[in-house]
C-alpha cells in the first residue's frame, strides 16, 4: 500500500523526490516536503502511539506543535536518539528511522492496554488513595511498578555527540510567527528601514496560508517572501521556535539546524539558542484549533478539521475516504468541502450548534453534504482505527436516540483559541471574551503588540468549548496524552478541587508534552459548566516557558568539557606539566598539587618536597593568589575600614598579614598587604577569594564609603608569583636580583620592594607561608616561566625543589598557619582561629567590628584553633572527623570539635593535626577522642604550632 491516500495536489510536496523511511521497522515511502505524520497518513497508517495511562491506541490529531498523541522516538544512532518527538513536526528525510513508544511488546498488541479494563478503578489521583500498606511496600514494590509503567519514550543512554550553539542578537522588531499577519508586520517594519528578525517554527514561512487550497494564498506568500528577502536588515529564521519571553523584551529562540537532514556532517550545529533583545516584539503566533470532547474522541482517525485541511492542501494527503465531521465552527464545513472535492465521501456533518449559518455552511448545503445540526456524539467504534460514529440529536436538552454511521475518519473542530502563550509569559494581562470563547491579550507590560488571530478572533467566531452533552464520560478525553477524561474532571471537582490549578495538578490535565495546547481551554469550559461559574472565575493556569519543549543542549551550548567553566592556568603551568606535576582544581585554577618523581606516591613526593624546603629551598607557584592594587589618597583609610588590622602605621616598604571579616564578624579572607607608596598598596587574597574580595571592596567603596578616594584594580593575572622558600632562598636569588639590597638586615621579614630580577621588573616581598626564610617574587606574567626557570637553574647547586599545594599545606600546618576555608568555615571569628592579635583595637570601626562584640562571639565555649597529636604518632587523623571529650562512640555524642587539617609531617617524623575545639585554648595537654566508625582515637591537645615555635627561621 504505497501512498494510497496521496493525491497530486499537495502544494508544498516535491513529487520528484521520493524518500524512504521506516516506522517500527517497516519501510514506507514519502516525498520531500512531508512530515513523518503526513507521510504515514499517506500510507494509510493512523495508529502511531499509545496513551500514557491506559495505553489506548492513538493516531494523529493535529498537524503541528499541538499534537498530543503521535509521539515517536527518532533514531539516528544509539547516542543520537530523541524520544517524545511529535510526528507532526518531524520533517521527513531519506532513511529516517522512527519508533513508536510506550508499548510492549508492540504497537498493535500492547499489554498495557489492559489498564483500560480497570480504568474504573484507577481514576485521576487514584495513587493518592492507595499503595500505603504495608509502609515499606511503596518504595519496594508499588513505586517501581508505577515508574515502569509511566514515562513515554526511552532516554538516550549514550553521550550526545552533537553540538549546540548560542547567539545573542538585537533588533528593532522581532516578529514571532510568519503567517499572514506576521509577514505583513515584518514587511511594514522592513519598509521603514528597521532591523527586523522574523521567526517561525515551521520549515517554511506562511503559517496557515500553507494550509489553504486557493491559489491566491500561495501567490501572495511567494510575492511577500521575495520582497522580504530584498531587505538587507531583515533576518528570516525558519525552523525557529520562540519558546520563552523574558523580562525587558528578551525572547529565547530555538533554531533547529540539522534535524531535517539525512546525514548531518559531524560537527554541524544541531540547534542554536538565540537570545534576542528587541525594541518591539510583534506576536503573530496565530490560533490553535480546539478539539471537541465527546466519547471515543481519541480513536486513531479522529482528527482536527483544520489539520485535515493541512494534510490535504499542503501535503496532498487524504486522512480517509469516508469522513464524518463533528463541527462546532464553520471551519469544519470548509474541511468537508475540500475533502469532498478531493474525492472523499462525507458521511455526515454533525453540527453541535442548533442553527448554524454562514458562507461555508451554505456552500456545503449546495454541494449536498449530509448536514445535521443540534447534534451530539454518543460514541465512536473501532479499535486501532475509528470505524463508525454514533450521533444523536439534542431534543429539549436531552440526548435523543443515536444513529451509527460508518466512517474511517472523524474530523472535529470546536473553533480556535488565540495563542497567547508568549503574551502571558511576558506578564501581560489576559482578558476573557465570552463572545469569542477565548482569553485574549489585554494590557501588556512589555513593548509588544499582538497581531492577527493571536490578538483575538474576528467577529463572534466563538465555536464551542467544554464537553458535548454526553452520558458516557469515561472515554471522552480532554487531555489525550495524559488520558484525562471528563469523568476525571468530574471527580476532581467532587473532591473539592475547584481552582483550575488544583484540577490541573490533580488530574494532570494540560501537563503533558503538548503543554495543554489542545486541552486547557476545554478543561476550563468543563469546569465552568460543572461548577456553574463563568470561565474567568475558574482561574487560569500560568503559561510557562517553554512554548514547546526545547533541548537541554541549547542551554548548555558550548559549555562542555573544558569550556564548561574557564580553566585558569598560571604562566608556569606548562613547566609543571613537563615536570610531571599532578594538578588539583582550586576554584577555576589548575594548581600543581605535587611533583612525583619516578614512581613516587603522593605521600612520598610530599614528604620529599617538605624536607627539601626545610633543609635547603623549595620553589612554589603562588600565581593563583588574588592580587588587588589599591591606589589613592585614602587607600590606607580604606584598608583600615576594610580589614581588622590597622594600616596607618605600616611604613612604605613593609608588608603585613591582613584578615578580612564579613559584616557578621566571621573571617572571610586573608592575605598579605604591602605598602609600595603612601598611596599605593599591593594586596593579596586567597586563590578562591579573589573575585569575592574585590566585589566586596567595590561594594563598600561604591555604596558605603563614597567619601573615599580609592581605586581598585585586579592584578591577579598581571603578576606571576614565584615563592622561593627555605634557608638557602636568599643565596639562590641574590645573584639574580638588582636594585634591592636583600640582605637580612636591609630587607627583613615582611618587606616589600621593587627591583629587577634577571633584568625583568619585579616586586619582591619577603614573606613566608612555610615558616622558613622566604620570598615571593612578582614578575609580569609574560616573564613568569623564564624567571621561574632562571631561579630553578640558579638553585640547582642548592638542591632547589619545586613543591606543590599539598606540601604547602603540610608546611604551613606545621607552623599552625590557617587556610581560609579549611580551618575557617564561615563561622569562625578572628579570635577563634588565633588571629585576635591582628585586630587594630584602637580603630573606630572596621567591617565586622560591630558583629564581633555580640554575646555569642565572646562565648568561652566557642570553637578555637588547637593542635592535636595522636598518642600513636604514626596515625594520621581524617580531616573532618569529629572530636569528643570521651571515648563513647555511639550516638548521640556530645561533639566538641572537628579535625580541620591533618598530615604526616616528614620533618617531625610524626602525624600532626589542626582542629577547632570548643574552649580548646584552655585545655592544652588534655586527652580528647577523635571518633572514627571503627574506634575512638585518643589525641593530646596542643598549641597549634609544631615546628620552630619561636619563629626564628623566617628571620634567617
Amino acid at each position: 500500500m504505497g501512498n494510497a491516500f496521496r493525491n497530486k495536489d499537495g502544494k508544498y510536496i516535491d513529487y520528484t523526490q521520493i524518500l524512504r523511511f521506516t516506522f517500527d521497522g517497516k519501510i514506507y515511502q514519502g516525498y520531500k516536503g512531508d512530515t513523518l505524520a503526513s507521510a504515514l497518513l499517506a500510507n494509510g497508517v493512523h495508529l502511531l502511539g499509545r496513551s500514557f495511562k491506559y495505553h489506548r491506541p492513538r493516531g494523529i490529531v493535529a498537524a503541528g506543535a499541538d499534537e498530543p498523541n503521535a509521539l515517536v522516538t527518532v533514531q539516528r544512532d544509539h547516542a543520537r536518539t530523541t524520544p517524545n518527538v511529535k510526528a507532526t513536526q518531524v520533517e521527513l528525510y531519506e532513511g529516517l528511522i522512527a519508533e513508536s513508544q510506550n508499548r510492549w511488546p508492540n504497537l498493535r498488541f500492547d499489554v498495557g492496554a489492559l489498564n483500560t479494563l480497570i480504568s474504573n478503578f484507577i481514576p485521576a489521583g487514584f495513587y493518592y488513595k492507595t499503595f500505603m500498606w504495608p509502609r515499606q511496600a511503596w518504595g519496594k514494590f508499588y513505586e517501581p511498578f508505577i515508574r515502569g509503567v509511566a514515562g513515554l519514550g526511552v532516554a538516550p543512554t549514550e553521550a550526545d555527540p552533537d553540538r549546540y550553539s548560542q547567539r545573542f542578537a538585537h533588533c528593532d522588531v522581532l516578529v514571532v510567527g510568519a503567517g499572514r499577519a506576521g509577514l505583513a508586520a515584518a514587511m511594514e517594519a522592513a519598509e521603514k528601514g528597521l532591523r527586523v528578525l522574523i521567526c517561525d517554527e515551521q520549515n517554511m514561512f506562511g503559517g496557515s496560508l500553507l494550509s489553504n487550497a486557493d491559489v491566491q494564498s500561495t501567490e501572495s506568500l511567494l510575492q511577500t517572501m521575495e520582497k522580504l528577502h530584498q531587505y538587507s536588515k531583515v533576518t528570516c529564521l525558519k525552523r525557529t521556535i520562540a519558546f520563552g519571553y523574558f523580562p525587558h523584551n528578551m525572547i529565547g529562540l530555538c533554531e533547529r539546524l540539522t534535524e531535517h537532514l539525512p546525514n548531518p556532517a559531524k560537527g554541524d550545529v544541531r540547534e542554536r539558542l538565540w537570545q534576542v533583545r528587541a525594541r518591539h516584539v510583534i506576536l503573530a503566533t496565530g490560533a490553535l484549533e480546539r478539539p471537541l470532547v465527546f466519547p471515543g474522541n481519541d480513536r486513531p482517525g479522529v482528527m482536527l478539521a483544520g489539520a485535515a485541511r493541512t494534510y490535504l492542501n499542503r501535503y496532498g494527503v487524504l486522512p480517509g475516504k469516508n469522513i464524518a465531521c463533528v463541527v462546532g465552527h464553520d471551519n469544519g464545513y470548509l474541511a468537508a468541502l475540500e475533502l469532498q472535492q478531493a474525492g472523499a465521501t462525507i458521511a455526515v456533518i454533525a453540527d453541535v450548534r442548533t442553527k448554524p449559518v454562514g458562507r461555508y455552511i451554505e456552500q456545503a448545503r449546495q454541494a449536498g453534504l449530509p448536514i445535521r445540526s443540534g447534534m451530539t456524539v454518543t460514541g465512536t467504534g473501532g479499535y486501532r482505527r475509528v470505524r463508525n460514529i454514533s450521533v444523536a440529536p439534542i431534543v429539549n436538552g436531552n440526548i435523543d436516540a443515536s444513529d451509527t454511521i460508518r466512517c474511517d475518519t472523524v474530523l472535529m473542530t470546536g473553533g480556535y483559541t488565540p495563542s497567547v502563550h508568549l503574551f502571558s509569559q511576558s506578564r501581560g494581562k489576559l482578558e476573557w471574551k465570552s463572545e469569542q470563547n477565548a482569553y485574549i491579550p489585554s494590557q501588556s507590560t512589555e513593548n509588544l503588540s499582538s497581531v492577527g488571530s493571536a490578538a483575538g478572533l474576528a467577529g463572534n467566531d466563538r465555536g464551542v468549548i467544554g464537553a458535548l452533552p454526553m452520558t458516557n464520560k469515561s472515554t471522552a478525553f480532554v487531555d489525550w496524552q495524559n488520558d484525562v477524561t471528563v469523568k476525571d474532571i468530574d471527580l476532581a471537582t467532587r473532591e473539592g478541587f475547584h481552582s483550575i490549578e488544583h484540577i490541573k495538578r490533580y488530574t494532570t490535565s494540560g501537563m503533558a508534552t503538548d503543554q495543554g495546547k489542545t486541552s486547557n481551554i476545554n478543561t476550563l469550559g468543563i469546569v465552568s459548566n460543572i461548577l456553574q461559574k463563568p470561565v474567568p472565575e475558574i482561574g487560569l493556569t500560568t503559561f510557562r516557558m517553554p512554548y514547546t519543549p526545547v533541548s537541554f543542549g541549547i542551554f548548555a551550548g558550548f559549555a562542555r568539557g573544558d569550556l564548561f567553566d574557564p580553566v585558569r592556568t598560571t604562566p608556569m603551568h606548562s613547566w609543571a606539566i613537563e615536570q610531571n606535576a599532578v594538578f588539583e582544581d582550586v576554584s577555576l585554577w589548575k594548581r600543581a598539587r605535587y611533583f612525583p618523581r619516578n614512581s613516587e606516591s603522593m605521600n612520598e613526593a610530599v614528604a620529599r618536597e617538605c624536607l627539601a624546603v626545610r633543609a635547603s629551598c623549595g620553589l612554589f607557584d603562588a600565581s593563583t593568589l588574588g592580587k588587588i592594587e589599591v591606589v589613592g589618597p585614602d587607600a590606607a583609610e580604606f584598608l583600615n575600614r576594610m580589614y581588622i588590622n590597622a594600616w596607618s602605621k605600616l611604613t612604605v616598604g613593609k608588608c603585613r598579614y591582613g584578615v578580612l571579616c564579613r559584616e557578621d564578624g566571621f573571617v572571610m579572607d586573608d592575605g598579605v598587604v604591602g605598602r609600595l607608596a603612601t598611596d599605593r598598596f599591593h594586596l593579596t587574597t586567597t586563590t578562591g577569594g579573589a573575585a569575592r574580595v574585590l566585589a566586596m571592596m567595590e561594594d563598600y567603596l561604591q555604596t558605603e564609603w563614597q567619601d573615599l578616594q580609592v581605586w581598585l584594580t585586579s592584578t591577579t593575572e598581571q603578576w606571576a608569583v614565584i615563592a622561593v622558600q627555605g634557608p638557602r632562598a636568599r643565596d639562590i636569588i641574590a645573584p639574580l636580583i638588582s636594585g634591592i639590597d636583600i640582605s637580612a638586615h636591609a630587607f627583613p621579614h615582611m618587606s616589600i620592594g621593587e627591583g629587577t630580577i634577571h633584568g625583568i621588573t619585579m616586586r619582591l616581598m619577603r614573606v613566608s607561608f612555610t615558616g622558613e626564610l622566604g620570598y615571593e617574587i612578582n614578575v609580569p606574567a609574560d616573564h613568569g616561566r623564564a624567571i621561574w626557570e632562571a631561579i630553578y637553574e640558579a638553585g640547582q647547586a642548592h638542591g632547589i625543589t619545586p613543591y606543590g599545594t599539598e606540601a604547602m599545606h603540610v608546611l604551613r600546618a606545621e607552623k599552625g598557619y590557617v587556610i581560609i576555608g579549611q580551618e575557617t568555615d564561615g563561622t569562625a571569628t578572628p579570635d577563634d582561629v588565633g588571629l585576635s592579635w591582628a585586630i587594630g583595637k584602637a580603630k573606630p570601626d572596621y567591617v565586622g567590628k560591630r558583629a564581633l562584640i555580640r554575646q555569642a562571639m565572646q562565648a568561652p565555649t566557642r570553637k578555637q584553633l588547637v593542635g592535636l597529636l595522636t598518642l600513636d604518632d604514626q596515625v594520621v587523623l581524617e580531616e573532618g572527623a569529629q572530636i569528643c571529650a570521651t571515648a563513647a562512640n555511639t550516638p548521640p555524642m556530645q561533639l566538641i570539635g572537628h579535625v580541620t587539617s591533618s598530615y604526616y609531617s616528614a620533618t617531625l617524623g610524626r602525624s600532626i593535626a589542626l582542629a577547632m575545639v570548643a574552649g580548646g585554648r584552655t585545655c592544652y595537654g588534655k586527652t580528647l577522642y577523635v571518633l572514627m566508625p571503627s574506634a575512638a582515637i585518643p589525641v593530646t591537645l596542643t598549641a597549634p604550632v609544631f615546628y620552630d615555635e619561636k619563629g626564628e627561621q623566617v628571620n634567617g
Binding site: 488513595k129 500505603m132 511503596w138 518504595g139 553521550a159 473532591e495 576555608g821 573532618g880 571518633l931
Partner: protein, 417 residues
C-alpha cells in the same frame, strides 16, 4: 472522613468513583478562632493539623491568599534529606525525615515519600573535606550519611559521568540513603484533608491585609479581604511573603526574598534512580514517578517577588546537568517555573515566638523548606500551643541574629539546601 485504601478504591470502582467527598470544605470564615495560621502550604496546613491533633485546639483557621499548596509547596524539586552538618540542623531535619517516614499512614494520604537516596557530589579536595566532615558529624548525630568513591557513586547512579577528563571530575560523594523525594502537592492536600477532618477551617482566597494588636501589644485579630477575624494566637507560615505579613504587626525580620527556579523534562522511562546534588557546579536532579527529570536551579542574584528567574540561571544549571549526564543533552525542557524563597542571613530558618505576644513565625527556609515540612509544621504547632519552643526549634530564634548564635549551614558547607 472516608478512609482511603485500595479496598475503598476498588469498591468505588463499581459505582463510578462517585461517593468520594471533598478533601476539605470551603467554609465562610467565623468571627473568631482559637488559633489562626496564615499560609496554606504544607507548613501552615501541617501546623494546623498538629495543633488540632496533638494539642487539642480544634477551633482553628488556615488563611490562604490564593489556593491550597500554591506557593513553594507546589513549586519545589521535592528533595528530602537530613544530612546537615550542625547538631541543631541535623536534629531539625531528621525530626522531619522521621515524620516523613510515616506521613502517608499518618494522614491516610499517599504522599509518595520515596527514600531513593540523595547523593551529593564532591568535585575538588575542598568538597571532599567538607563532605567527610558531614559524614562524621552525621554519624555521631545518628543521621545516616556515607562516603562513596566515584566508582561507588557510579554504581548507585549509573548515568553519572565519572570521567577524569571532566572539567570538575567527581572525587566521591556523600550518600544519605534515607533521603529521597515526595509528591509535593499531595503533602498539602493530605494535610488539608486531615486538618479539615479535625475541624480546621481552610479558607482560600482570603488575603491578610492587617494584624490588629490590643492595648498590651498582643495579637487580637487579623484583617482580611474577607473581613475581620479575631484570634489570640497567630502563626505565620507564608514563605516568601512572611516579611510582608510580619511587617503588619510591626515586626521586622532579617529576610530577603529571591526567585528560585526549577524545571522538568518530558517524561521518559526510568533512567535516573536517585537524587543527585552538586553544590559546586549547581545541579540538582531526580526523576519523578511520572518520568520527568526534575531539575532545580539557583536563586537569582537580586531580590524580587516575581515568580520567575533569569534564563541565565536555568541555563547554568542545565550546563551542569549536561556535563554530569551528557546523554541528557537531547532531553527537552517541558516546563520551567519559579517560586519566592525567603532567606535568612545564616540560611537557617526561624521557628519561634516573636516580640509580639501571640504572634509566632515559621519562615526563612530559603531553598530548602519542603524537606522540613512535617517537622516545621509540628514544631510551629508545638510553639504556638505551649507558647514556648520545643527543644529542637529552641535555637531557631529571631534573636540569634542579634546575639550571634547563628546556625550557618551555608557558610559551613557552601551548600544549598
Amino acid at each position: 472522613m472516608r478512609l482511603y485504601s485500595g479496598f475503598a478504591l476498588l469498591k468505588a470502582g463499581f459505582n463510578g468513583q462517585k461517593n468520594w467527598q471533598s478533601l476539605w470544605r470551603s467554609p465562610e470564615p467565623k468571627p473568631a478562632y482559637d488559633a489562626i495560621i496564615i499560609g496554606a502550604g504544607g507548613h501552615g496546613l501541617g501546623a494546623a493539623y498538629y495543633l488540632a491533633k496533638q494539642h487539642g485546639i480544634r477551633n482553628i483557621a488556615v488563611l490562604e491568599k490564593g489556593w491550597v499548596g500554591g506557593g513553594n509547596t507546589g513549586r519545589n524539586t521535592t528533595i528530602i534529606r537530613s544530612n546537615y552538618l550542625f547538631n541543631e540542623s541535623a536534629a531539625l531535619y531528621d525530626h522531619a525525615v522521621k515524620l516523613w517516614e510515616n506521613l502517608s499512614q499518618t494522614l491516610n494520604y499517599n504522599v509518595m515519600f520515596s527514600q531513593r537516596g540523595v547523593m551529593m557530589l564532591a568535585h575538588n579536595v575542598h568538597d571532599v573535606q567538607v563532605f567527610k566532615r558531614h559524614v562524621h558529624a552525621n554519624r555521631c548525630n545518628g543521621v545516616d550519611n556515607e562516603w562513596l568513591s566515584a566508582e561507588q557513586a557510579k554504581v548507585f547512579c549509573p548515568p553519572l559521568n565519572i570521567s577524569a577528563n571532566m572539567r570538575y571530575p567527581i572525587l566521591g560523594a556523600a550518600l544519605q540513603r534515607r533521603g529521597g523525594t515526595a509528591r509535593h502537592d499531595a503533602v498539602a492536600w493530605g494535610y488539608a484533608r486531615a486538618a479539615d477532618d479535625l475541624g480546621v477551617d481552610i479558607i482560600e482566597n482570603c488575603e491578610v491585609i492587617g494584624i490588629r494588636r490590643d492595648a498590651t501589644g498582643a495579637v487580637e485579630a487579623v484583617e482580611t479581604s474577607r473581613g475581620l477575624i479575631r484570634t489570640k494566637k497567630l502563626g505565620v507560615s507564608a514563605s516568601g511573603h512572611t516579611s510582608v505579613v510580619l511587617g503588619m504587626a510591626g515586626v521586622r525580620l532579617p529576610l530577603e526574598s529571591y526567585p528560585l527556579q526549577a524545571l522538568v523534562s518530558e517524561p521518559v522511562k526510568p533512567v535516573f534512580p536517585c537524587v543527585v546534588m552538586s553544590n559546586t557546579i549547581h545541579a540538582y536532579i531526580s526523576q519523578s514517578d511520572k518520568g520527568e527529570l526534575v531539575i532545580g536551579a539557583g536563586t537569582d542574584a537580586y531580590t524580587s517577588y516575581t515568580q520567575r528567574g533569569g534564563l541565565h540561571i536555568s541555563s547554568h544549571t542545565l550546563e551542569a546537568i549536561c556535563e554530569l549526564f551528557p546523554m541528557f543533552r537531547r532531553m527537552r525542557m517541558l516546563r520551567n517555573w519559579g517560586g519566592i524563597v525567603d532567606v535568612t542571613p545564616d540560611r537557617s530558618p526561624i521557628i519561634a515566638k516573636t516580640p509580639v505576644p501571640g504572634l509566632y513565625v515559621n519562615c526563612g527556609w530559603g531553598t530548602g523548606g519542603f524537606k522540613a515540612t512535617p517537622g516545621a509544621a509540628h514544631l510551629l504547632a508545638w510553639t504556638m500551643a505551649k507558647d514556648e519552643p520545643h527543644t529542637i526549634n529552641a535555637p531557631y530564634t529571631i534573636e540569634r541574629f542579634r546575639d550571634g548564635y547563628l546556625i550557618d549551614e551555608a557558610a559551613a558547607a557552601a551548600v544549598a539546601h
